[in-house]
């Protein structure tokens, strides 16, 4: 029987996961780095940002209050929020 192995989340693998989720919001194929601006470079508006947060919540099985949206400018911001919450 296959054993469930808990993933140890690091800044690198969380960023990989978030970049993967961001691809659905990147029809123009912008190269996504940790400092890519979600609004100006990926055209993610407030509603899309809330939906992205929901996908991140599902991926990492945690809750991210949408009060934190103003603090989410880049993938790095998302990584920091996820790491803060998965390591709680």
């Amino acid at each position: 029987m296959e054993q469930m192995v808990a993933v140890i989340w690091t800044p690198e693998n969380v960023l990989d996961e978030i970049r993967s989720l961001l691809e659905a919001y990147n029809p123009n194929g912008v190269k996504i780095g940790s400092a890519t601006n979600l609004s100006s470079e990926l055209n993610i508006d407030s509603v899309a940002a809330m939906n992205l947060v929901m996908e991140i919540e599902d991926r990492f099985e945690l809750d991210i209050p949408i009060n934190q949206l103003p603090d989410m400018d880049t993938p790095k911001d998302l990584v920091d929020i996820v790491l803060t919450r998965v390591n709680k």
């Binding site: 508006d45 509603v47 899309a48 809330m50 939906n51 929901m54 809750d63 209050p65 949408i66 009060n67």
Partner: protein, 405 residues
């Protein structure tokens, strides 16, 4: 940097509407003739986007009572209830609503939008957590934001997702308030209230239901969807509006909580706004009597809703939700939606155009709201206008909902 620079993309998007004869978001109604007919740009149009579900805006006694209140009490209260005082009409309306909903108390607000602001910002503060449906109306989002509470969204109409999130929060000591709508304004889809009640009871949290689009339409005597589903006693707070089935302006919150009326001196959107005008209050009191006593209005409404829903489905249009008085036709993209809206307008009907972010999930909609006062001939005319449009844009060739999601 100018203050309006941040809107440059929105301004550019809106400017594209100027390529069409009529800007769907800036329609000027010259004159309203009846609940279902208006003169727009000098031409008579059938109104199919007014949320005037029971068509009470021209009811003779509603107008008479509003005129009497105008003459007796003047055009406005010119201030808030805590400063200028409560009028007898406010008290009567609140008692009537509380009695109608079998609640201990109701609080009236000048609009439905302010009712959500006032109830949510009054109930919760930064020490509390609000879990809200992802497709909630802007007034709910704004009320939650104003409260300062921690806001967690759950997937639309998903008691399972809410349950999962409440389970994750089981060690969190904050008070939890779940906020949902009974009928969602854009798609017209209804919430599984019984399943939400089950989740809220298992987790011991509070539940607020916004019945803006269901009051007067569902349930015994029009008491709303919670009443129809037999779960009214499990709803801790009900919010509603007078600007839809009651055909006037205003909103309310109602509850059985013994401390509910504390909001009268703690909720800033209640305390610091001018109170409802006497004429609006009188019209609401009278309209509520119609809702209680005239089930035939609901019979007509549902017959019209079924006729339009079935006819548009037969034409091949993709309707967003099962039959309700809100019939939202899904369009594949913004350009098609605007073009289609203009075709319908020229054919003599006025529907709502709804585009993202006003409509959820990036959806573009032609949103119809049916009235009890539409005649069967008017419904046939509306169907004919869609049929003429479908001859040019074949709905059967448009991408379907599943593909668009």
């Amino acid at each position: 940097m100018g203050l309006f620079d941040k809107y440059s993309q929105i301004i550019e998007r809106h400017s594209k509407l100027e390529d069409f004869d009529v800007d769907p978001f800036n329609v000027c109604v010259d004159r309203v003739i009846s609940p279902t007919v208006g003169i727009i740009n000098g031409q008579q149009k059938i109104l199919v986007g007014t949320n005037n579900y029971l068509g009470l805006t021209f009811e003779a006694d509603c107008i008479d009572e509003a005129v009497k209140a105008l003459e007796a009490h003047g055009t406005a209260t010119t201030g808030s209830r805590i400063a200028n005082g409560t009028y007898a009409g406010h008290v009567q309306l609140e008692q009537d609503i509380a009695s109608f909903l079998n609640c201990r108390a109701a609080i009236v607000f000048p609009t439905g939008y302010q009712a959500n602001l006032g109830i949510l910002a009054g109930l919760a503060d930064k020490s509390d957590t609000i879990l809200l449906d992802a497709d909630s109306h802007a007034s709910i989002y704004d009320g939650c934001t104003l409260s300062g509470a921690t806001m967690i969204r759950f997937r639309h109409n998903s008691p399972g997702d809410l349950d999962k999130r409440l389970e994750r929060l089981k060690d969190d000591k904050s008070n939890k308030l779940v906020v949902i709508e009974s009928i969602y304004s854009m798609f017209g889809d209804r919430a599984p209230l019984d399943e939400f009640v089950d989740v809220k009871n298992r987790h011991g949290v509070s539940l607020l239901v916004d019945e803006a689009h269901s009051l007067g339409i569902f349930g015994d005597c029009g008491r709303g969807l919670a009443a129809e589903m037999g779960v009214g006693a499990n709803v801790d707070y009900t919010v509603g509006t007078f600007s839809k089935s009651l055909g006037t302006v205003g909103g309310f919150g109602a509850s059985n909580h013994p401390l509910f009326e504390t909001l009268r001196y703690t909720s800033r959107p209640y305390m610091y706004t001018a109170s409802s005008s006497p004429s609006n209050v009188a019209a609401a009191i009278t309209a509520l009597k119609h809702i209680r006593t005239r089930p035939e209005l609901r019979t007509n409404l549902w017959q019209n809703a079924k006729m339009l829903h079935d006819s548009l489905s037969e034409l091949g249009y993709d309707i967003c939700a099962p039959m309700s008085p809100i019939i939202a036709v899904r369009m594949p993209d913004e350009e098609t939606a605007i073009y289609h809206w203009n075709m319908l307008f020229k054919a003599g009907i006025y529907v709502n155009l709804a585009l993202p972010p006003g409509a959820p999930n990036g959806t573009c909609l032609l949103r119809c709201s049916v009235s009890a006062k539409h005649s069967s001939e008017q419904i046939a005319f509306i169907v004919d206008a869609f049929a003429k449009s479908s001859a040019i844009i074949n709905p059967k060739e448009l991408p379907r909902a599943a593909a668009a999601q």
